[in-house]
C-alpha cells in the first residue's frame, strides 16, 4: 500500500483510523451484546430493591470499588476464598458494573457467612476494632445520615426505561419505603442482595 497517500491527506488518515478502531470495537461489542448471557434478562434474576439501589448509590459515592472487587474470578485463590466464580447472568443488571480493578480489601460479591449484620456494622463504624491492622477507613457518617427518598423513583424509572422489570407500584412506593432509613442499612442491603439466592441455587454447570 502506498502509505505516502495517507501521509499527505489528513482526512484519509482520520477516516482510516476511525474505521480500524471502530471495527475493533464493534468486533467485540456486537457479539458480546448478542451473547446468550447478555441477550435477554435471566428470568429468575431479581433486580435490586429500592433500598439496595440506594445502597449501590452509596457504594459508588464512597468509592468502595476503588479497593474492593465484586467479581470472584475463576481462579483457585479466588474460589477457595469466596466460593463459586461470578457469572455474567448474575451481573446482568449491573449499571455501572462495579467489578473493581484493584483489591485492597476483600471481594464483596457475597458477604461472608461467618460475619453477621451486627459485625458488618461494627466493622464499618470502626474497622480496626474488628480486624486489627486493617487499612480500611471508618465510615461513621453512614450511621448518622438517613435517606431522604428523593431521586429513588427517578432512578428506578430510568432503569425501567432500560429494561429492568420494576413494577409501577414498586416505583411509587419506593420513596416512602426508603425514607428515614440509615445509609448503613441501605449499603448492607445492597451488599447482601448482591448475589440473589435464587440465582446461586439455579446456577448451571
Amino acid at each position: 500500500m502506498r502509505h505516502v497517500l495517507l501521509e499527505r491527506h489528513a482526512g484519509l488518515m482520520t477516516a482510516l483510523c476511525l474505521l480500524t478502531m471502530s471495527l475493533g470495537a464493534l468486533a467485540q461489542l456486537v457479539p458480546l451484546g448478542a451473547h446468550p448471557s447478555l441477550a435477554s434478562a435471566p428470568e429468575d434474576l431479581k433486580p435490586l430493591s429500592a433500598l439496595a439501589l440506594e445502597g449501590q448509590r452509596i457504594y459508588q459515592r464512597e468509592g468502595c470499588q476503588q479497593c474492593h472487587t465484586r467479581m470472584v474470578r475463576d481462579l483457585p485463590g479466588d474460589t477457595a476464598r469466596h466460593g463459586d466464580a461470578t457469572t455474567a447472568r448474575e451481573r446482568y443488571y449491573d449499571r455501572p458494573s462495579l467489578w473493581g480493578v484493584e483489591r485492597w480489601g476483600t471481594d464483596l460479591s457475597k458477604l461472608p457467612a461467618q460475619h453477621d449484620d451486627a459485625w458488618q456494622r461494627l466493622h464499618l463504624h470502626d474497622p480496626r476494632s474488628q480486624v486489627p491492622g486493617s487499612a480500611m477507613p471508618a465510615y461513621p457518617w453512614l450511621f448518622e445520615r438517613a435517606l431522604s427518598g428523593e431521586g429513588i423513583a427517578a432512578r428506578m424509572r430510568a432503569l425501567q426505561g432500560l429494561g429492568v422489570p420494576y413494577a409501577e407500584d414498586e416505583i411509587l412506593a419506593a420513596p416512602n419505603d426508603v425514607r428515614g432509613t440509615a445509609e448503613i442499612t441501605a449499603l448492607l442491603a445492597y451488599l447482601q442482595q448482591a448475589a440473589p439466592a435464587s440465582d446461586i441455587a439455579s446456577r448451571g454447570p
Binding site: V4, R8, A10, T14, C17, L18, T20, M21, S22, G24, A25, Q28, L29, P31, H35, S37, L38, Q60, R61, E62, G63, C64, Q65, Q66, C67, M71, R73, D74, L75, G77, D78, A80, T86, A88, E90, R91, Y92, R95, P96, S97, W99, V101, E102, R103, W104, P127, R128, V131, G133, S134, A135, M136, P137, P140, G151, A154, R155, A158, L159, L162
Partner: protein
C-alpha cells in the same frame, strides 16, 4: 492547502497560541502536583490508617479517584492538548524551531473563530478537570474507573475535545509540509480514539444534573470501562502521549526519526490493537471466554509494535547520545521510551494466563510504568518544552533525576507487590483452603508500599521544584519584556505604530530557524 504566507495575508497575526500553550503547561504542572501530593497522602493513610480524618469528603474512596482524575485529565489531558497544538503548528512552520519562539508563532495566522475555540479549549478543559474533581469529592462519581466525572462534565469534555479537533485540523490545513509527520498520525488517532472511548463510556440516561445510569449493562459495560482503565495501548490519552513523545524526540534532538517504515508499521498495528486493550484486565471474570481469549491474543500482539516504537525512538536518540547529558529533557524522553517498553512488556505478559492470575489477585494491578513512567513523564517534558527556557538549569536537572528515581521506585514496588501477593494468593493447603489469610496477603504489600511512598514523594517534590522554576522563569520573562518595552518607548517615542516587533513581517521560508530558542539546553 494554503501556505502560511497566504494565510497570514488574510488574517491578523497573533500569537495567542503562545499564551494558550503557556497556560496549559502551567495548569498541567499544578494539577500534576496536586495529584502527586494526593498520591503521597493516600499511600501514607494506607500505611498508617489512623492518620486519615473521619470526614466523608476526605476519605480514601473519594480521594483515590480524585488522584486518578487529576493525573489523567489534569496533567495528561492539558499536556496532550497543548502538545497537539504544538505538533500542528510545527507542521506549518516547517523547520526545527520551538513553537513558543515568538518569531515563529507570529507566522501562523488563525481565523478569529479558531482562536476563540482555542481559548475555549483552555477554559473548557480546566473547567472539566475542576468540576469533575469537585463532583468526585462531593460523592457524585459515575463509578466508572478512570471516567468518574458525572454526565454533565462528560458532555462538556466531548465539546472541548471536538473543539480541540477543530483547532488541530484548522492549523494542519495551513501546513507547509506535504507529508504529515509521525506525531501528527498519532495525534489524529488519539483524537478519534478518545472520542470513541469517551462517548461509549459516557452514554447514559441522566437522572438529575449529576447522576446518571449507563446505557450498557453487565460485562458489556465492564469491557468498555476497561478500555479506558488499561493505559495501553488504547487508554484515554495513550495515543496523544505517544504523539508528544514522537514530536519531542525528533524536534528536540533535531534528528530525523530512525526508521519511517518502522514508525508506519508500528502505528497501524497500534491503531488496530487500540480498542482491544480491555479484555486482558478481565481475565477469568464473567466476561465470556471467547472475548477474553481474543483480547488476550491481541494483547500478546502488542509486544511487537510497542517494542518497535520504543526502539525507534531510542535509535533516533542514539545518533546523538551526548544530548542525553546536555539536555535533561532528552534524558527524560529516553526514560519515557524505556518505560514504554517496560509497560508494553508488562501488558503483553498479562496476556499469559498464569501471569495474569498473579496480577489481579490482591492489592495490586498494573504497575505505574505506563501512568507515571510514560503519561506523566511525557506530560511534564511537554510542559517544559513549551515554556521558555527555565531560569535554573540545576533545578531542572534535579527534577529529571527525581522523576527517574521516583518512577523506578514505584515500578519496582509495584512488581514486588504483584509477585509477593500473587504467589501467596493462590497457594492452597492440602485441605483445599487458602494457606494465607487476606490480612497476611495484604500485609505483604507493606514493605513495597514504603518503597512506593519514597517514589511518590520524589515525584511530588520534583513537581514542586518544577512549579517553583516555572513561576520564577515566567516572572523573569515578564519583567524583561516590560523593561524592553520601556527602552523601546524611550528610544523611539514617535514610532508608536511599529511597536510590533519587526521580525513578525518575515515570511517563514526566509526567516532563519530560531536556533537560539532557549528550550534547548545545549
Amino acid at each position: 492547502m494554503r501556505t502560511a504566507l497566504e494565510a497570514s495575508a488574510c488574517h491578523p497575526r497573533v500569537n495567542h497560541h503562545h499564551h494558550a500553550s503557556h497556560d496549559f503547561s502551567r495548569m498541567a504542572v499544578i494539577w500534576g502536583l496536586l495529584s502527586l501530593c494526593l498520591a503521597v497522602w493516600l499511600n501514607l493513610i494506607w500505611l498508617w490508617p489512623s492518620l486519615g480524618p473521619e470526614v466523608a469528603w476526605l476519605s480514601y474512596g473519594r480521594l483515590a479517584p480524585l488522584q486518578h482524575h487529576l493525573l489523567l485529565y489534569g496533567l495528561g489531558g492539558s499536556a496532550v492538548i497543548a502538545g497537539g497544538y504544538s505538533i500542528a503548528m510545527h507542521s506549518v512552520l516547517q523547520r526545527e524551531s520551538r513553537t513558543d519562539a515568538e518569531t515563529a508563532i507570529a507566522d501562523i495566522a488563525l481565523p478569529p473563530f479558531t482562536l476563540k475555540l482555542m481559548h475555549f479549549t483552555f477554559l473548557g478543559w480546566q473547567a472539566v478537570v475542576a468540576l469533575g474533581a469537585l463532583a468526585i469529592v462531593a460523592g457524585y462519581s459515575s463509578g466508572q474507573y478512570m471516567a468518574e466525572a458525572p454526565w454533565l462534565v462528560d458532555l462538556l469534555m466531548t465539546l472541548v475535545w471536538l473543539a480541540v479537533a477543530w483547532v488541530f485540523f484548522t492549523v494542519l490545513e495551513q501546513r507547509t509540509l506535504r507529508r504529515l509527520p509521525v506525531a501528527c498520525w498519532y495525534f489524529i488517532a488519539g483524537l478519534m480514539l478518545v472520542l470513541i472511548q469517551h462517548v461509549l463510556i459516557s452514554l447514559s440516561v441522566p437522572i438529575g444534573l449529576l447522576e446518571s445510569i449507563p446505557l450498557f449493562t453487565g460485562s458489556l459495560e465492564a469491557l468498555i470501562q476497561r478500555w479506558q482503565a488499561g493505559p495501553l495501548p488504547g487508554g484515554m490519552f495513550a495515543f496523544g502521549v505517544i504523539a508528544l513523545l514522537h514530536h519531542m524526540v525528533t524536534s528536540r534532538s533535531r534528528l530525523p526519526l530512525y526508521s519511517h517504515r518502522l514508525a508506519a508499521t508500528s502505528f497501524w498495528m497500534l491503531v488496530l490493537l487500540a480498542t482491544w486493550g480491555g479484555a486482558p484486565l478481565l481475565f477469568a471474570s464473567a466476561l465470556p471466554a471467547w472475548s477474553q481469549t481474543l483480547g488476550m491474543a491481541m494483547g500478546l500482539l502488542l509486544l511487537a509494535p510497542g517494542l518497535a516504537l520504543s526502539l525507534n525512538g531510542l535509535m533516533t536518540l542514539k545518533e546523538d547520545w551526548h544530548s542525553l547529558r546536555r539536555d535533561p529533557l532528552i534524558c527524560l524522553l529516553a526514560a519515557a521510551l524505556v518505560s514504554y517498553a517496560l509497560a508494553v512488556l508488562e501488558y503483553s505478559l498479562l496476556s499469559l494466563p498464569t501471569l495474569n492470575a498473579l496480577t489481579f489477585s490482591a492489592a495490586n494491578s498494573l504497575s505505574p510504568a505506563a501512568s507515571l513512567g510514560v503519561v506523566a513523564t511525557v506530560a511534564i517534558v511537554m510542559a517544559y518544552h513549551l515554556l521558555p527556557p527555565m531560569r535554573s538549569l540545576a533545578l531542572l536537572k534535579t527534577h529529571a533525576l527525581l522523576v527517574i528515581i521516583g518512577t523506578l521506585l514505584c515500578v519496582a514496588a509495584s512488581w514486588a507487590t504483584t509477585l509477593l501477593q500473587g504467589s501467596m494468593w493462590h497457594v492452597l493447603a492440602n485441605d483445599g483452603r487458602p494457606l494465607y489469610t487476606l490480612s497476611e496477603v495484604l500485609e505483604a504489600a507493606r514493605m513495597p508500599m514504603m518503597i512506593s511512598l519514597g517514589g511518590l514523594a520524589c515525584w511530588a517534590l520534583g513537581l514542586l521544584l518544577m512549579l517553583l522554576n516555572v513561576t520564577r522563569t515566567l516572572a523573569d520573562q515578564k519583567s524583561e519584556r516590560q523593561a524592553a518595552h520601556e527602552r523601546q518607548r524611550l528610544s523611539s517615542g514617535s514610532h508608536k505604530a511599529s511597536s510590533e516587533p519587526a521580525m513578525h513581517s518575515a515570511s517563514p521560508s526566509t526567516t532563519p530557524p530560531a536556533t537560539s530558542s532557549g528550550g534547548h539546553y545545549a
